[in-house]
Symmetry: C2
Subunit: 299 residues, 2 copies
C-alpha cells in the first residue's frame, strides 16, 4: 500500500523552522500515522559548480536591495531520482509513545535545590532504575552488543576505579568523523551526577584520560577536538558520559555539562559533592518531573 | 544588474547540513561576492491540510520499509511567487570581513587554567577594552540608544550594587515573544566572569531578580520561561547578561553558563572566585585566542 498517498492529515505535531522539518499526525486506513517531512541539505560538488544554474537555482525573484546586500526568493531544480528535495518518513501504525515523542514540547528552566531533589527527583530516579535500565546491565555484564564495544576497562591498573564500557551511540553512522558520537557507561553503579562527590574525582579523571587515549588511537582526534559531557537530567539513570566530535551540532545548552566542569565543581563542593548543590537546567514541560513535580513549586 | 545570474562560483565558505543553508564565495564582474542559499521552512496552515498533495509533496520514491517505519524521497510543489523553495541573499561587493564572517570555523575544546588565563587571556582582554567597548560606555553613560532601553537601575535601593541597563538585543524583532532576547549590561566595570568573586553574589542576585520582575511586568513571562546566562568567552569584555525566552533555539552549549550556575559556583570557589578556577568551553579556531595562544599549549 502506498502509505503517504493514503495519509489523511489531523494535526501538526511539531515544526522546526531551523532544521526545516515538520512532523504531522494523521491516519492511514483509520489508524494513527506520523509523516515527517525534512528538506534535504545542500550537497554540492565544488568541481561541478560554475554559474547559478549549477548551484541548483531555477527561477529567481528579487525582493530588496540595500547597499551591498540583496535578497531574493528562488525555486530550486529538483528530480525525484537524482536530486530529490525532501525526505519523507512514515511511522504506521503510530503508537501513543511515538506521538508523544514527536509532539512539540516546551522547555522550562529549573532551579533544583537539594530539597527539591529529595522531594521529587530522588523517588523518580528510584522508579526509573531496576527493570528500566536492565538493558544497561546487559551491556555491562551479559555481553549484549559486545560486537559494538570499542573498549572495555574492567580493572583500572591505576587503582582509581575508572572502569567503563565505551561504545558508539546509535545516532552515529560509525563512519563520519565530524559526527562521531560515543557513550562511555560507568561500570560502577552511580545513578547521576547528584551522586558524585570529591571521592569520585580520581575515577572520573581516569575515565576521561582513557577516553582521550582510545579516541586518539582509533580515530586520531585530539582532546581539543572532542566534547566530553554528561546530561542532567539524563535519559537513563545509570551514569554515562557522552563523547562527540567538537563539530557535532546539537541544541544542547541547558542540559549538558562538560565532564571537566563536573570535576572542577567537585573540587570545590566539599565531601558531600553535588548532593548539596543547586543545579540549574532545562527540562521539557512534558517530562514527568515537570508535570508531577516542579510545576507545583516553580513559577 | 541581475547579480545572481552573473555570479561565478569560486569556493564553498560553509555549509550547514542542519539548517540547510550554504554560503558560496565567487565573483560578479570580477569583484568578490557571497551568495547564501537557504531552504525555506515549512509554513503549512492546518486548516488547508488534508491529503499528501496539500502537504506540498509532489512525486514520491520509496526507499525502504522496516516494521512500522518507512522511508521515501520526494520532490516538493514550488512556485516562484506563491511558494518559493529557497531564500537567496547576495553580498556584493563582499569585503574580507564578510568573507571571514561566513567562512566555516571549527570549534575547539578549551581547558583554561588560571595560568593560561594570565598568560594569554588577560592581555587579550586588556587589548579588547578601551576604544573597543566605547559603544558600551555610550549606552551606559551618554544616553546612546536611550529610546531602546527597557529598564535602567542606576542605584540599587537594596545596597547590593545591582546596577544595570536592560535593552533588547539587535537580533530580536521586538515582537515575537518566543524569540525574546534582551541584554543586561552591568554598570559596574567588570570585564568577564573571571573577575567575579563571592563578593559579587549579592550584586548578581539583585540584577537577576530585577530582570525577572521587569520581564514579568513587561512581557508576562515567568522565571521558568527564561534563560538568563553569560558567555565565556564573551564577544565584548564589559560584563553583560543574556536574557532569552526558554524556547529560543541556539547552538550554544560550550559557551553559555546560566547566571544561577555562576552564582552557585561562586558560593563554593572562595574569596578569589573564578580567578582560581579552571574554565572549560568551546572557542572557534579562527579566534585570536586560539591562533595566537591556546593552539601552542593544548593538543
Amino acid at each position: 500500500m502506498d502509505l503517504v498517498k493514503n495519509f489523511q492529515f489531523s494535526r501538526i505535531l511539531s515544526n522546526s523552522t531551523d532544521s526545516k522539518k515538520i512532523y504531522l499526525l494523521g491516519t492511514i486506513d483509520s489508524q494513527n500515522a506520523i509523516v515527517a517531512i525534512e528538506k534535504v541539505a545542500f550537497d554540492l560538488d565544488p568541481k561541478s559548480l560554475s554559474d547559478y544554474k549549477s548551484l541548483g537555482i531555477d527561477q529567481l525573484r528579487l525582493l530588496d536591495i540595500n547597499d551591498v546586500y540583496s535578497w531574493n526568493m528562488a525555486t530550486l531544480i529538483q528530480n525525484i531520482d537524482s536530486n530529490p528535495a525532501a525526505k519523507v518518513n512514515v511511522i504506521y501504525p503510530a503508537s501513543d509513545t511515538h506521538i508523544k515523542k514527536y509532539q512539540e514540547s516546551k522547555p522550562r528552566y529549573i532551579v533544583e535545590t537539594p530539597e527539591l531533589y529529595q522531594k521529587y527527583v530522588a523517588p523518580y530516579v528510584e522508579s526509573m532504575r531496576g527493570d528500566r535500565i536492565k538493558w544497561v546491565h546487559q551491556i555491562l555484564f551479559k555481553g549484549t552488543e559486545a560486537e559494538r564495544v570499542l573498549t572495555r576497562v574492567d580493572e583500572d591498573p591505576s587503582g582509581r576505579n575508572g572502569t567503563f564500557v565505551l561504545l558508539p551511540d546509535l545516532k552515529w553512522d560509525r563512519k563520519t568523523l565530524e559526527t562521531l558520537y560515543l557513550i562511555a557507561i560507568s561500570i560502577k553503579d552511580i545513578a547521576s551526577i547528584r551522586d558524585l562527590t570529591e571521592a569520585h574525582i580520581p575515577m572520573l579523571e581516569s575515565i576521561r584520560d582513557k577516553i582521550y587515549a582510545t579516541v586518539y588511537e582509533k580515530y586520531g582526534l585530539e582532546p581539543s577536538q572532542l566534547k566530553i559531557y554528561v546530561h542532567y537530567q539524563p535519559s537513563y539513570y545509570h551514569f554515562h558520559i557522552h563523547v562527540t566530535h567538537v563539530q557535532l551540532q546539537q541544541n544542547d545548552f541547558g542540559r549538558s555539562i562538560f565532564l571537566d566542569s563536573v570535576i572542577e565543581q567537585l573540587r570545590h563542593l566539599g565531601p558531600e559533592g553535588f548532593s548539596k548543590a543547586t543545579l540549574t537546567y532545562l527540562l521539557s514541560d512534558t517530562h514527568d518531573l515537570w508535570t508531577n513535580g516542579f510545576s507545583k513549586e516553580l513559577r
